[in-house]
Symmetry: none
Subunit: 419 residues, 2 copies
């Protein structure tokens, strides 16, 4: 079956409000077994609403609408729904009681405008709104040549009203009405390899995936998420099938996977340090505090993070990090020797178990033929010694900073795990 | 004319990724004089893509597509575009050169998969992608009974690739092709005051604005942007009208405005330091490197930024920043005395003209009745001495870090300007 979402609201079409309703609804509907095939945003305009209802009603068994139901915009969507379903508004006493109760609980009388909210199209079933006054509306529509009537559900656009209504009222009714297929997702998070190189490594495995499983590549600067999606009738069988393929996938790219599903590299590293009771210090040059920022964005990071010295000039590298002046003169600030001294010395000074040091050329200026923009040295120091690696990231300052920071955190993760 | 956006991507339909592209694109297209009337999200599926192309092409003069252009297997958009426009893929040598250059700069050879990215539909014009390998594509389509051909533009879905392409390549071409009404924008950037308080101060001025001018409040954590938009036929008259109102607006809230249009507080502060030939050092506790990250996100910041000590534990505050241990014991780490010592000492140690120090409780843990989550002390030190201020930001860790960092940068800006 096909499901779609229609979000009504001018504010969504001028960039003032990001349409977070659609992604939240899609996630919940997917989890409940109603994969969403289309999302449409339209303005608060009767003709646009009518067009969208006509198109979606022909295409999809299930259409969920949000927005256009507040006390001020009320008439617009409800009148258009009446026009589409060739019906009229009638006063619903049960809905009115709910509205009256809602206002009384807050010490208010029901206004004329709010009384109008109890008027709903004659052919719909009202769905209670526990967090507001505009009821939801459930419509069923005969479609020529189709046995089961199509369903339209209209909900308020205010996120906390819509969310409670979808979870507590709408999804249970949908499950009863339709018999949804099972959809499962599993995401692996990778760092240090680009989308096309990953694709080369996975090509053979991907071609042999069962037809009901599908892999998607979701790249961000420095990170590629791999999402495996499966559909099936039998949940436990599907789960087993997914687990098998995920196991195979993990064996193909063990060096690049740092986590699963909704986590971040900084959270994974933080958890690892916490579990080991270990501490971390950092010494940053080109990343300019971004590693520290990622590490400290995790609540509770003060348990394992001691701090950082950001040495954005050579004299600070010498004075505050104890880097040998001669080493800088002979090798340059962006070199294996310097980054190793930075890592070793900050670890000693901050008395931490582990340390990270980064020195590179973030750009856009400062590159030379031998040391181009994007060149970055990263060192990790720990109880077992210091190791360093050389990387070429690219020519964009913002992404070089991000890529270097993520690469450094992943090196630390591997160093701690002893791989 | 009617404009619509089609975002292609399974990830947008399972709730894993919020469709921020649509709101950003809507904003930019609106600003350029192309109001958006519809946004549609569809899966990576040829039939859905084909249906959406057919519907939108009938309805709208301008259709912008994103997504489905990466080098991997889940990308079907180009084949579907060929089917829709009844054309075939051809190898584009210019695009290939760009891809080759992109890979060479990173020390890689072009793979077979990436070579395929230089194949584009025969009837389109390739649009360069400065941040990636997939080119954009500009199509024009004859529509029966319509004089001007409809335009379709296909762009990558990766936000930073799409953004650069839309701003630098697509919008200038659209302005040349369609000649939209003149829309002018002027944005003032404020820090340190919330949206509702600003609105109170501006109410009277706003009510008396000419009907063709409109003010929008665009809040972000710590910053409110005020965007004045004007529409008109005569550009120079409109410009004069806008300038007059902006002058009045500036007089109403002089203390809160730190810049105009597309700048940032970190860029404004950087420019000021550079102009004065002055240097900066920072000492961060609760902001955990975020101030350093903001400062060093500006190209050329090594000219004025010397570095930072991030002291995420009390012993680092004592050992590395020379804060008096007794002061911490008597006043706590989040106090006027500690933050003043941090600012003064880092300025001396790093031999900088100015310094910033921050100490606060970012949350979610660590708050007490006397010192709740969100309490933050900020100090600025300069040639004329040290000043400190106390702030209460809120209960959200991420926003507290951002608000504290922006407040600190604005305090430094005012300190340097001597206000």
């Amino acid at each position: 079956m096909q499901t779609e979402i229609i979000n009504i609201g001018d504010e969504l079409l001028i960039g003032q409000v990001i349409n977070t309703n659609a992604s939240w609804m899609s996630e919940q509907l997917n989890l409940a077994g109603f994969p969403v095939h289309r999302v449409t945003i339209i303005p608060d305009d009767p003709q646009h609403i009518l067009d969208a209802l006509k198109e979606s009603g022909q295409r999809s068994e299930l259409v969920l609408l949000t927005g256009g139901l507040g006390p001020t915009k009320d008439d617009l969507t409800k009148d258009t729904l009446c026009k589409y379903f060739r019906t009229k508004l009638v006063f619903d006493p049960v809905t009115f009681q709910t509205i009256e109760k809602f206002f009384k609980a807050r010490g208010f009388q029901v206004t004329v405008i709010n009384r109008k909210q109890a008027e709903i199209p004659e052919n719909c079933i009202a769905i209670p709104n526990i967090n507001g006054t505009a009821p939801g509306m459930w419509f069923e529509q005969e479609v020529p040549g189709v046995e089961k009537k199509h369903v339209f559900v209209s909900m308020p656009g205010v996120p906390f009203e819509m969310k409670a209504m979808l979870l507590n009222e709408v999804i249970p009714r949908l499950k009863q009405y339709f018999q949804p297929v099972t959809v499962l997702h599993h995401t692996l998070l990778t760092q240090g390899i680009g989308e096309s190189f990953l694709s080369d490594l996975l090509e053979d495995w991907e071609t042999h995936l069962p037809v009901n499983l599908h892999l998607a590549y979701l790249p961000q600067p420095g990170i590629v998420r791999l999402r495996l999606t499966g559909q099936g009738d039998d949940e436990s069988r599907l789960q087993k099938q997914m687990d098998e393929e995920i196991s195979k996938l993990k064996l193909l790219i063990p060096d690049y996977i740092f986590g699963e599903d909704n986590t971040t590299l900084e959270a994974v590293v933080g958890k690892l340090l916490k579990e080991k009771g270990s501490t971390l210090a950092t010494a940053e040059s080109c990343t300019g505090g971004y590693i520290a920022h990622l590490v400290t964005s995790i609540p509770g990071s003060s348990e394992y993070y001691k701090g950082s010295i950001i040495a954005y000039s050579n004299d600070i590298k010498v004075k505050e990090l104890g880097v040998n002046e001669k080493t800088i003169l002979e090798n340059g600030a962006v070199s294996e020797e310097v980054v190793k001294q930075m890592a070793g010395n900050v670890r000693t000074r901050f008395d931490s178990d582990y340390s990270i040091a980064v020195s590179g050329i973030a750009g856009p200026d400062g590159g030379t033929k031998d040391k181009p923009v994007g060149l970055t040295w990263i060192a990790i120091a720990g109880p077992s010694g210091v190791q360093a690696g050389k990387y070429f990231f690219g020519d964009n300052r913002e992404r070089n900073i991000r890529r270097a920071a993520l690469q450094a955190l992943n090196l630390l993760r591997k160093h701690i795990l002893g791989s």
